[in-house]
């Protein structure tokens, strides 16, 4: 069961079960800090793990995915994935990292499910095809539909990581030939935590898993099952380039002056104003500014089903929950403009009328003088 190996981590060799307490607390603290749970909880986690031997079992399913979310997880260091899977959770089944294969792997899955029934965390990565009874993704002779329904049945918590598992992701883009869909749509009636993103930010997953591991509860979710601590704001509401947006400084074309000065990318099609995610504060790959806008490309809304892989990359979007910007009108602003066309028309009409009047008066001039005086005399 513990025949697990880890993809080579040069900084931290794989360790076995004995844990240095101080290191362990440090790991927990770092993990908690990343996702906003107070540091005091570190002691609680340590207690939980050591005393209650509470290392929740995690069963990680892969379906129509690119494994990007797993790869993203592998690049964390707070904690490193090695610390995660060795010290904090028990990753009992994960096709990417599993040393075993074939029937052995299937046996591992079955055993883990049986041993931890009702308590294991089911993590789903990848979309689930539903067309033609879901034959477009089959593992070990079973369709993804069958697998997910089977595993989710006795899970203590279900987490869908990545946009594919959350709502269908890339496989679900038009024309969606396989009927790819997200886990919540398949597992109707069950609480599915969704962590959308392409890839998802691994710390969002870590925070959720750690909370479950420590307190047995899930974080507060929105109506789409997304943890509010990560998806409660749009990118726009916490974007480092927001001041540029408010001041009206935009990049108009890639490589222009504005783009080089790091101006707002809204006009280039940034979906930030309509995309709920926390990429702006939690960058990827442990590298500062390693996220689309930080690198100079507009956000494309990968977490949102209505935007990611649906709306053209460089189409602009409406702003959700707009608020007053940080700029000031002058004491007297310019109002109205004089239209040259209207002026021209007015001039023409006025001139025509005046001209007509002058012509009429000339005509009256040419009339012969009255021979007979007007009718007034007869009064």
């Amino acid at each position: 069961m513990s025949a697990l190996s880890v993809a080579g981590d040069p900084h931290r060799p794989a360790r076995k079960s004995s844990v240095d307490r101080r290191d362990f607390i440090r790991v927990c603290t770092l993990a908690l800090a990343a996702v906003g749970i107070p540091f005091s909880a570190a002691a609680e986690i340590a207690q939980a793990v050591v005393k209650k031997k509470l290392k929740p079992s995690v069963i990680w399913l892969h379906f129509q995915e690119c494994t990007g979310c797993t790869e993203s997880l592998l690049r964390t260091s707070h904690p490193a994935v090695s610390e995660l899977i060795l010290d904090l959770v028990s990753l009992d089944y994960c096709e990417t990292l599993l040393a075993a294969a074939g029937h052995q792997a299937e046996a591992v899955l079955k055993a883990a499910m049986k041993e931890n029934a009702g308590k294991y965390v089911c993590v789903i990565e990848g979309a689930i095809p539903t067309k033609d009874d879901g034959i477009y993704c089959m593992i070990g002779g079973r369709t993804a539909l069958e697998i997910v329904n089977d595993v989710a049945k006795d899970a203590g918590a279900i987490i869908a990581i990545g946009s594919c598992a959350s709502w269908g992701g890339i496989p679900s883009a038009d024309p969606n030939p396989t009927g790819a869909t997200g886990a919540p749509m398949v597992l109707k009636g069950k609480t599915v935590v969704t962590i959308p993103g392409c890839p998802a930010n691994p710390y969002n997953l870590l925070g959720t898993v750690l909370q479950y591991a420590t307190y047995g509860t899930l974080p507060e979710l929105d109506e789409k099952g997304r943890p509010k601590f990560a998806y409660g704001r749009t990118i726009h509401e916490h974007c480092p380039r927001r001041a540029h947006f408010d001041a009206g400084r935009f990049a108009e074309r890639f490589g222009d002056e504005g783009h080089r000065l790091g101006y707002c990318l809204y006009k280039l099609g940034c979906k930030g104003p309509a995309t709920h995610a926390n990429c702006s504060t939690l960058h990827f790959g442990e590298v500062v500014d390693a996220w689309p806008i930080g690198l100079g490309h507009p956000c494309f809304g990968c977490t949102e089903q209505t935007l990611g892989f649906r709306v053209a990359l460089h189409d602009t979007v409406d702003i959700e929950r707009p608020t007053g910007p940080d700029t000031y009108p002058p004491i007297q602003a310019r109002v109205g403009r004089v239209s040259p066309i209207a002026t021209g028309v007015a001039g023409l009409v006025g001139g025509a009328l005046l001209g007509a009047g002058v012509m009429a008066s000339r005509k009256l001039d040419r009339e012969p003088p009255d021979e007979v005086t007007g009718t007034g005399k007869e009064s």
């Binding site: 009206g248 707009p322 910007p325 009108p329 002058p330 007297q332 009064s379």
Partner: protein, 312 residues
């Protein structure tokens, strides 16, 4: 003809006398004062940091739709009050001199807009607040012409447009009562003007006009070098219920220089002078009728009647 000329002259003099008589009492013009429970606001430019929380709070409290015109290339950045903006912060910047200024209805003691409005859609209601009732509004926009502060704005884009302006959040204070807090008459939180409640620096505060005047005078006394030595709105244009203290000249921050005479006073005096009790019109009508009656015997009207009498 000569007789008639005399008659006309007599009638003109008579009418003129009536008009003059009508004007006489109005010449001693009455100055309207603020009601004793008049509520107002005091805005201090030296305290404002331009955070615009008041702009946002006003939009939320009044359920205003966001301004989506790209003024100056920006989103929801009104350049002035408009059909979706009842409160705005503007910036005065000239060399080293800078000041923010909050712009909204001044709730004048004797407003030009209420004087202009045909059916009283704009009217001073409780606490002297200048309130708007769309059911009496025909959208003539005379109030916009009349207001010296250019406050009332019109919903030009709507098919059933209304006049839009600050009403001191009177819709929030329905049923609530004032109590004295820290020297000011205040409603419970959430019932008073939203801008005042949200201001983080108390740059704009509300209370009765008397309390605010007292506070303004206190500040000017305590910091004589800080302010321009005048409380704008104390007597300007007949007095306003929204008062301003500023560290830069008032005309620079968009507050027009007005005399102490109420803005509508001159027009009202003339109007009343002429139409007082409708005496002059009726008198004139009587005179005209009398003259025509006299002339009736002359050929003009006779010929008229003969002609009308209908030769076929």
């Amino acid at each position: 003809m000569g007789v008639n000329r005399r008659a006309l002259l007599k009638s003109v003099v008579a009418t003129g006398a009536a008009v003059a008589a009508g004007t006489a009492p109005a010449v001693a013009r009455t100055r309207r004062t603020a009601p004793p429970d008049a509520l107002g606001m005091l805005y201090d430019t030296t305290r404002c940091i331009g955070c615009k929380a008041c702009v946002v709070a006003c939009a939320q409290a009044n359920d205003l739709t966001p301004d989506t015109d790209y003024f100056a290339g920006l989103y929801q950045a009104p350049t002035d009050l408009n059909g979706q903006t009842k409160n705005v912060i503007k910036l005065y910047s000239e060399g080293p001199r800078r000041s923010y200024v909050k712009a909204q209805c001044m709730h004048c003691v004797d407003p030009a807009c209420t004087n202009a409005c045909m059916l009283g859609a704009l009217k001073k209601k409780e606490h002297g607040i200048v309130a708007y009732d769309a059911s009496l509004c025909v959208g003539c926009r005379y109030c916009q012409m009349a207001c010296p502060f250019n406050v009332p704005k019109f919903e030009w884009k709507k098919r059933a447009p209304k006049i839009v302006k600050c009403e001191l959040c009177r819709h929030r204070s329905v049923g609530a009562s004032l109590s004295t807090t820290g020297g000011f008459s205040r409603y419970p939180k959430g019932k008073g003007p939203a801008c005042c409640e949200v201001c983080p620096r108390e740059a704009v505060v509300y209370g009765t006009r008397e309390e605010l005047l007292g506070e303004a005078r206190r500040r000017m006394k305590e910091y004589p070098d800080r302010y321009v030595p005048k409380i704008y709105g104390e007597t300007d244009g007949g007095g306003t219920q929204v008062l301003y203290l500023s560290h830069v000249p008032f005309d620079k921050i968009g507050l027009p220089t007005l005399s102490d005479r109420a803005v509508p006073d001159q027009q009202r005096t003339i109007q009343h002078g002429i139409y007082q009790g409708f005496i002059a019109p009726i008198a004139l009508y009587g005179v005209l009728g009398a003259v025509l009656w006299r002339n009736r015997r002359k050929s003009a009207v006779e010929g008229d009647a003969a002609e009308k009498g209908g030769e076929s």
